[in-house]
Each structure stands twice: as structure tokens, then as C-alpha cells.
């Protein structure tokens, strides 16, 4: 049994699309394998200490909340990058994903500073990209997996040439509605627009993050044993079908 320390960034500001559902899934799925998740809130004015966390989570917020925390987060940028360099896993969703890039030019024309973890820039567009999304991902060579979620963002996110997307858009808009890419991945860090929340209906990603967090604790290469995920698969199928039927069109 291991303890996994999670740093939840700005839960009091960035919580718009059920981010606590993602945390609940990580907590339960760790517990069902005999591990204990210890979630520590890290908010405005708190120090982010590199090496303290095995997994970082940052959720979504509206422009207003993003603007309120962006300067504080940018000041934590070096620590966040150091944490990921040191092997910590990271999941950044929607607004948190945007701010993990270099900057976000929001709808009011204000440029919010980012962490610079992901090689990308985000600029708000006039029309929001809203709908169900289905992605195909390959986080481990040869292992193709699907992610189903919901997106709702004004931001158009452009990856640098060197950037690796999280996945290919099967149905929906994705990063910018045009490139056919969604999200970004660097090592153990994943950023995405998909909420829903993301992890309950995509438990494989929750387990991938937990395995990386456990590895960082010095457990070596960890393979978590499978769980009875019939309900999760059913919810995934319904969400994937929704995306195929009515996901955003490019």
C-alpha cells in the first residue's frame, strides 16, 4: 500500500465542470487497489514545492476565474515545470490546460500569462466550440485507446510544431476546430479540453495517471490490476455515441 500525494491547483477557483468528479475517480480507483490518495489543495498564495506531489491536477474555470488566478499560477510556473521534470504526473483540463501553455489571450483582449509547460498558445475565438468529443489516443506505443468527453471553450489552442497532441479528433472540435488534434502530452503530463468529467467514463486514463504517480513514488514500473468497469464502459459507449451523432463539426 502506497500513499499518493496529489496537488489540486485552485480548487476554489477552477471547478466549473465537475473537476471534483475526476478527483473522486482517482481516489476510489487508488483505494480499490489498496493505495491512499492524499489530496492537498494548492491555491492563491500557497507555495508549490517541487518534489512534494506525485500528481498535479488543475481544472476548468471561466475567463473571470482564470484571470483571477493566472498571475499566481505563472509565479508557480517554474515549480510546476520542475515537478513534471521530476516525474510527477499531471492532468490539466480546459481552463487549466490553457494556462499550462505559454499564454491565453482571453475574450476581453487580456493576455493571461501561462506556465509554459506545454508548447502552445491559446487565443479566444468569437464562437465557442461546444459539444461531445471523441478522441483516439496512443499514450503508450501500440496501445490505441479512446477518450470520450465534452468540450466548451472559446479558446483556439495552437501547438508548436514540436508539440505532441493528446489525441486525434474522431468527432468534435478539439484544440482549434481545424487541426484535427486535441490536447497536449509531454511525458507524464496531459492537457485536454475534455471534461464531462473526463475520468469516470475513461477509467483507463485514470489508471495511467495513477500508475505514473506510483512509479514516481519509487514503486518501479507499476501495472494496476483491472477492476470491474462495466458501468464505466457503458457510460463511455453512450458518450462516444453522442460524440459521433452530435459532436461539433469542423
Amino acid at each position: 500500500m502506497s500513499r499518493i500525494v496529489v496537488g489540486h491547483l485552485y480548487p476554489d477557483y477552477l471547478n466549473i465542470y465537475a473537476d471534483r468528479g475526476n478527483i473522486a475517480v482517482l481516489e476510489r480507483r487508488a483505494a480499490w487497489r489498496g493505495h491512499r490518495l492524499e489530496v492537498r489543495d494548492v491555491s492563491v498564495g500557497d507555495d508549490l514545492v517541487p518534489g512534494e506531489h506525485d500528481l498535479l491536477y488543475i481544472g476548468g474555470g471561466q475567463d473571470r476565474e482564470q484571470a483571477l488566478i493566472a498571475p499566481d499560477l505563472a509565479a508557480k510556473g517554474e515549480a510546476a515545470r520542475a515537478a513534471v521534470d521530476g516525474g510527477a504526473a499531471l492532468l490539466a483540463v480546459c481552463g487549466g490546460y490553457q494556462l499550462m501553455g505559454r499564454s491565453y489571450l482571453d475574450g476581453s483582449g487580456e493576455r493571461l500569462p501561462g506556465v509554459g509547460l506545454f508548447p502552445l498558445e491559446t487565443v479566444a475565438g468569437s464562437r465557442r466550440l461546444i459539444g461531445d468529443v471523441l478522441l483516439e489516443c496512443e499514450l503508450e506505443p501500440g496501445e490505441r485507446r479512446a477518450l470520450a468527453g465534452f468540450e466548451n471553450h472559446a479558446g483556439r489552442t495552437l501547438l508548436d510544431e514540436s508539440g505532441t497532441p493528446l489525441g486525434r479528433v474522431v468527432a468534435g472540435f478539439g484544440n482549434d476546430g481545424e487541426s484535427g488534434f486535441e490536447g497536449c502530452r509531454i511525458g507524464n503530463a496531459v492537457g485536454t479540453y475534455l471534461h464531462g468529467p473526463l475520468l469516470p467514463r475513461n477509467p483507463w486514463l485514470a489508471d495511467w495517471l495513477l500508475e505514473r504517480a506510483l512509479s514516481r513514488r519509487g514503486e518501479g514500473d507499476v501495472m494496476l490490476e483491472p477492476l470491474p468497469d462495466e458501468l464505466e464502459h457503458e457510460a463511455h459507449e453512450v458518450a462516444a455515441r453522442r460524440a459521433r451523432e452530435r459532436g461539433g463539426r469542423r
Binding site: 471547478n15 473522486a24 475567463d63 458501468l231 457503458e234 453512450v238
Partner: protein
Amino acid sequence: MRLGLEIALARAAGRLSRLAGAGGGTTLPGKLLLRLDPDAIDRLGRRLPLGSALVSATNGKTTTAAMAAEILSTRFRLAHNRSGANLVSGVASALLRADGAELGLLEVDEAALPEVVRRIHPRALCLGNLFRDQLDRYGELELVADGWRAAVRGLPAATALVVNGDDPQVASLSTEGGTPTVFGLDDPRHALPAVPHAADSSHCIRCGTPYAYAAVYVGHLGDYRCPKCGHARPALDVVARGIELNGLESAAFDLVAPGGTTRIALRLPGLYNVYNALAAASLALALGAGLDDVRAGLERFSAAFGRFERIAVGDRRVLVLLIKNPAGANEAVRTLLAGGAPTLAVIALNDAIADGRDVSWIWDVDFEPLLERLERVIATGERAAELSLRCKYAGVDPERIELVPELERALDRGLELTPPGGELVILPTYTAMLSLRKTVAGRGYVRPYWDERAA
């Protein structure tokens, strides 16, 4: 007489819609009319000799409007969209049906409000609250708030503007235009121990600092003050004090208004219904009703369509509490718990446009205190599997979760598990509520909604 011809055509469409069994014809006539003539609603509004009062809010607008109708209907003939068809087309349909009406009493969708205000030039506007709701339709809460601000800005002094002082966003509109009436609660005995997870506007709307609350009543509604810049709840004109909540049965409060104080005994439960009653009372007072009319009307009122409805189904009863967003669902849960929690519940989650296609909001509802007490939960609706996951990850033993996606089967399963004389609690989203009601009506237990009169 172009308008006359258009009206005749649109009404015929409504009758056809009902004959065809397509539903109540509560929006089709309006849609058709607006297709023929987009400005027709402006002229329909002008036919009302006493003008119109509009009611909007994320939560409680149907109940608030129905309560105000109960108060005002003894004095005025009303044009009222009582079934909750509250988009521009629904408003147009209500105005079309309103032959001989004197006063419009119109519930309006939050996003449709700016257009309706621009076209109808209301005599009174009652704004209740803004919570996160259907962000897949509205984008961001701030966009709705900006739309309201633009709609209110520059309203003439002749327009009564009734706002909830306990909601920072809504209260701040009171200085933008019209003649304001500010209402709110003043009874810290009913305050929540903390701002709930789903709270939205709990950071100062001026400077972004978290508000300090002397009392939080529902979501982010309460008696707030910014510790940094001092932005605070405005002085209240109409206040609810001495609030008494009697489980699932009823509520009572002292209505303290500039013209006097009166005790109101509601036949509805829950603090959120005190808010609805207070909003309806403030609106009616602003339209010139007396305190006695207000009390009599509120005490006659029983329930708005599907919001908190008890329906006899054979030798059992069904209690329907509509859920549609975190703040509203939290209040439904709170009210159920106050009534002695049930051991069985049917929760129905659909994801049509009217429900919100994005179902992530169920994860922001504090269902846990209810789930802990349920021996069995029946998850139903189009997104029943997602709902089951919500329960599973809340810690409910999967053995106690029944996944029954088809609504009618879930209803029957719930009734089967309910003893004769017992009551089955159902928490449906909007379209699930409509279809469950249709099922029950098909068995002859409730009249279809387009026949319904206020109680």
C-alpha cells in the same frame, strides 16, 4: 389587419399541434407567428392595457411566476406562460392566447431576457438569481450576467426592477436602471455551515476577493461583504424573517415590507421556496398589490408544474422534484433530507438540449448526504450509466444501484418497490420530468400540462 390574420393562423397551428398529439402547442403558434413577422411580439405586448411583468432567474422562475399569478389573478386578467415555455416563442404564444388579458405575467429564459425586454418594454422586471446552468447553451455565466446588465441599463424610472439582494451579480443590477426593489433573507438560523461546492459568484464581483458571508442561504446567495473593497449586500426593501421550515410539508415566514409585516404560511417546503415567495411578493407589491392580496395568494398556492408535485398513482404517491443544475438539485436534496430522507429514489438524467447536453453538472451536486441514506437508487434516463457512475464514485455499493435506462420501466420498478400507501421520490431532469408526467397522464392520473389550471 395583418396582425389579426397572423394571429388566426398561429392559433390554428396550436390547435393542430394538440390534435396531432404533438404536445401542448405551447411554443408552435409563437414560432410560426415570429416566422411570419419577427416584430409581432412587440405589437402583441402593446395590446395589454397594463403592460407586462417579466420574471427571470436560473432557479425558481416558473414557481415565482406562478406564485405571482396566484396573487394577481384575483385583480387582473393575466397572460401567463404557466407551462414554462419561456423562450421568445413561448412568450409570443402566451400573448397570442391572451384574449382580453390586461397584464402580461411572463416567465422568461435567462438568455432570452435581453430580447424580450427590448421588445416588450416591461412595466416590471423581477430577477431572482444566476447559477451555473446549461453552460453548453449559455457559454459562461458571465455572458448571461452581461446580457442582463445591458437589458436593465437605461430602463426608465417607470419600470419596477425587483432584484434579489442576496445574489451579488443580480443585486448589482439595482443601480443600473428602473426603480429598484431589493429583497432578501434575514434569518441566520437557516444559514448553511459553509459556501457549498457548487457556489458560483462567491468572489467579489468588483475586486475578486472571496466574500465573507454573515450567512449563506442557498448556493452563493446570502449576506455577503467583501473584506477587501467593502462591496456588500445592499439594504433590503422586502425581507423574510422568522423563517420556519417544516420538512417536506410547508414553510412559513414574516414578510417585512415597507407597507407592513405579515406572516405567510406556504404550502410548499424548503428555503428556496421562501426565496420564490419573497420574489413573487416583491413583484406583486411593486405592481400595486396589497399585503393582504399577497398573503392570500401565496397561501392558496400549491405547486408549479413538476417542480414539487405530489401525484397519486393508484394506491401510491409519486413525489416529483425537478433537478436541472447543481444549485437547484442541492436544494432538492436538502429539502428531502429535512423531510426525513427516503430509502428509495428514482433519479432520471436526460441530455436533450432542454436538460443540457453536458451532463457534468451531476458531479457538482452534493448528492452524497442523500445517497448515504438510500438503500436503493434507480438510475434512469438517456444518461443513466453516467448517473450510476456518479453514485458508484460517491461510494454507493454497486449492488444497490439499479440501472434502468428506460423511464417508464424505472417508474414501474420504483412503484413496485414502494409499499401501498407509500411515496416514491423521483428526481428527474426537465425532459425526463415531461415524459414521466406523460406516462402518468397516459394512465389517467394527471391531466396533460396544457389543460392545467393553477391550483
